[in-house]
């Protein structure tokens, strides 16, 4: 079942899905697993599993630190794929690889796609790989039934959005504002206008991310987006108040 179809199915029973995020090996794989159990219980629909990279230039301070610490602890790409396999077998949600292009480039694009497939993943997000450079990878992905998630942004022109829309598969990731991951986005007319503009260029489900952190954001997105993408906020809660806090956070968010 493709991602688009999966999202449509899940949307039959709720109006706004949630995609969550963990950085592999930070604070540890054991804690990742606890986080994901809580996310699964809360009914999270999709999870991006970030493979740590030494130069995470699109990430904000919290994820930068997480990438760095995970690598310092010795996290390898093999471990990340093993973990992907483990969680995609154990949980109902679908799993995406998230990371930087060099990870895919170094192992070879064909192998990268193959390993996602073998590990039960359904797609990937590589924020530093523009569509101009994606031709071969997208072709390999289509053959394997793995979906590349493309980002649409507030600075994208209509011409660019058309290009991005044409290359998109599965779903589209709408970046709600400029900047890196983790800062607050003020949900307002700008975001609605952006979603509407993106909508003109794709029929795929749309996830909105960057700065989604509370129930008010969810209420705001309902009716405009198909998925809310929650990243930094959840990691912050986990660090501040552990399992209990995270359980409360998702319960409130998805109430």
């Amino acid at each position: 079942m493709g991602l688009q179809h999966y999202i449509a199915e899940r949307k039959k029973s709720k109006d706004l899905l949630v995609m969550a995020h963990v950085v592999c090996g930070y604070p540890s794989f054991a804690e990742n697993l606890q986080e994901l159990e809580i996310m699964a219980e809360a009914g999270v629909d999709l999870v991006e599993l970030q493979f740590p990279f030494s130069e995470p230039s699109a990430d904000g301070p919290l994820f930068v630190h997480a990438n760095e610490q995970s690598l310092k602890a010795g996290t390898t790409v093999d471990q990340c794929f093993e973990f992907m396999k483990l969680i995609s077998e154990r949980f109902d949600f679908k799993v995406l690889m998230m990371g930087y292009y060099n990870t895919a480039f170094k192992m070879g694009e064909a192998r990268f796609v193959q390993r996602i497939k073998e590990s039960g993943g359904v797609g990937y997000i590589l924020p530093d790989l523009p569509v101009e450079e994606s031709g071969n990878l997208h072709r390999l992905s289509a053959e394997a039934g793995i979906e590349p998630i493309i980002l649409m942004t507030p600075t994208s022109t209509d011409r660019r959005l058309a290009q991005l829309g044409a290359a998109s598969r599965g779903m589209v990731y709408v970046v709600a504002r400029k900047g890196v991951t983790g800062s607050k986005t003020s949900m307002g007319d700008d975001v609605v206008a952006l979603i509407a503009r993106c909508r003109q260029h794709t029929d795929l489900p749309m996830g909105v991310g960057f700065g989604i952190s509370c129930k008010a954001d969810m209420d705001f997105l309902r009716g405009h987006a198909d998925l809310a993408i929650v990243g930094t906020a959840a990691l912050k809660i986990w660090q501040e108040s552990g399992a209990e806090g995270l359980r409360r956070f998702f319960a409130e968010l998805m109430a």
Binding site: F53, S54, G60, H65, K106, E133, L151, T153, P154, G179
Partner: protein, 419 residues
């Protein structure tokens, strides 16, 4: 040879190296920069303004000096030096920065950001920003801030805000990442003044274009002084901007050999160096916006690098050199920290020149090879920066006891004044 004459669909690529690997949010900004750069490059008036600015502000053209004493001592080739150390702010970095300043005016942006390692590029950028009236932020790894206080002092006094970057290895590459993060937020009014011929297209081409002034001058000067072209041209290579600068003057001269000198650090097999092409440790990868040879592990995470010269201490090499190296157009050698310290002393004593530790790498390789060449052969070295302003670093590198005693005395004095 025009390496910037890209074939259809391969804009920004040199062989398989280069390209643009950036978050989608920067696509429009990079497009805008590319369009503006193309206009500037096509406009003869822009280049005239650029040259005039460097003449009136930075002391160009910088001279070429014949090192008669050193040539005699080595008994081989005649050694000439292009003196880019005589620029305002003490290095070739000012060329690129002034050019991008003019470009930033055309873009209509009021703020500039820049990364810096040793502090030379930050210093030059702060200087340019003061002159042009731009708001200026310099990102610098916390480790570099700690070891390069004099440059930080000047940047701050020139009105720039210096931000110590606490991520990663806290050095140059981390400062570049932090610039990217600033840029993805503030691109509407901010131009990123990348300091070397690395990063996403059009930066490698743009920085090379501004630095080509070195080679244009040098070719004319050496012919005027010696009546002929040099046999070999040496330049140190960190990112590769000064080397691209001087080498471009000789790209069409088939009999001129071009030699890039990388940071050998603690030597072959030490894994404590920044020699991407001269040693076998680097592999092709994609990071910091472009594809090239990086010092990285098998999974694509970057390794730690080391050099006595902070300005050469970088994980990747400019994509143009990866290509030219493969094509056999540029040879790459490495100089170790130990060799650099020895040769710096030799050059100071023999010629009264104080090259920057970075530039001394080029001297090391040239001085190794000069004795094997004929007396009628000619060597040209690019002295990209001067060392006297890096007195703290050089005194450290030379382990100077009297300097240390002076610093201790100074510290005591400050301590007493505070009490």
């Amino acid at each position: 040879m025009d390496i910037f004459d890209f074939s259809e669909g391969r804009e920004g690529y040199y062989g398989e190296y280069g390209g643009v690997f950036l978050p989608e949010i920067l696509h429009a900004t990079i497009e805008e920069l590319l369009v503006c750069f193309r206009e500037c490059k096509a406009d003869p008036k822009f280049w005239q303004d650029y040259v005039a600015l460097l003449q009136n502000y930075s002391g160009r053209p910088t001279p070429v000096t014949h090192l008669e004493n050193l040539s005699r001592k080595l008994g081989g080739a005649q050694i000439y030096v292009k003196r880019d150390d005589l620029n305002h702010t003490g290095s070739h970095k000012i060329n690129n920065v002034m050019g991008q300043g003019l470009l930033c005016q055309r873009l209509g942006k009021s703020k500039v950001i820049a990364e810096t390692g040793a502090g030379q590029h930050g210093f030059a950028t702060a200087t340019m920003a003061a002159r042009f009236g731009f708001d200026c932020k310099i990102y610098m790894g916390a480790v570099d801030v700690a070891r390069q206080r004099p440059n930080v002092f000047w940047m701050e006094n020139l009105g720039a805000t210096v931000i110590a970057v606490q991520d990663g290895q806290k050095t140059l590459k981390d400062a570049i990442n932090e610039c990217m993060r600033d840029w993805v937020t503030n691109m509407a009014d901010t131009h990123y003044i990348l300091g070397t011929a690395c990063g996403p297209h059009p930066f490698p081409e743009m920085v090379s274009w501004f630095q080509s002034i070195i080679g244009l001058e040098a070719r004319e000067q050496i012919i005027k002084q010696t009546g002929r072209l040099p046999d070999r041209v040496y330049a140190c290579v960190g990112g590769g901007s000064n080397a691209m600068g001087i080498f471009q003057g000789f790209f069409n001269d088939d009999n001129v050999e071009l030699i890039g000198c990388e940071a050998g650090g603690q030597g072959v097999g030490s894994y404590m160096h920044a020699a991407r092409l001269a040693y076998d440790d680097a592999t092709v990868g994609v990071a910091q916006g472009f594809k090239t040879y990086f010092l990285q592990n098998a999974e694509g995470n970057m390794n730690e690098t080391h050099s006595v010269a902070a300005g050469l201490d970088y994980i990747g090499i400019n994509p143009i050199f990866s290509y030219l190296w493969e094509q056999g157009k540029v040879r790459f050698e490495a100089a170790t920290d130990v060799e650099v310290k020895e040769i710096l002393k030799l050059v100071m004593r023999t010629e009264g020149l104080i090259p920057a530790l970075e530039s001394t790498h080029a001297f090391v390789t040239a001085i190794k090879e000069a004795p094997t060449m004929g007396k009628d052969e000619i060597i040209l070295i690019n002295q990209s920066g001067r060392g006297d302003k890096d007195i703290f670093t050089i005194a450290d590198a030379l382990d100077d006891a009297k300097w240390k005693a002076f610093i201790e005395g100074k510290a005591d004095q400050y301590r007493k004044e505070r009490q």
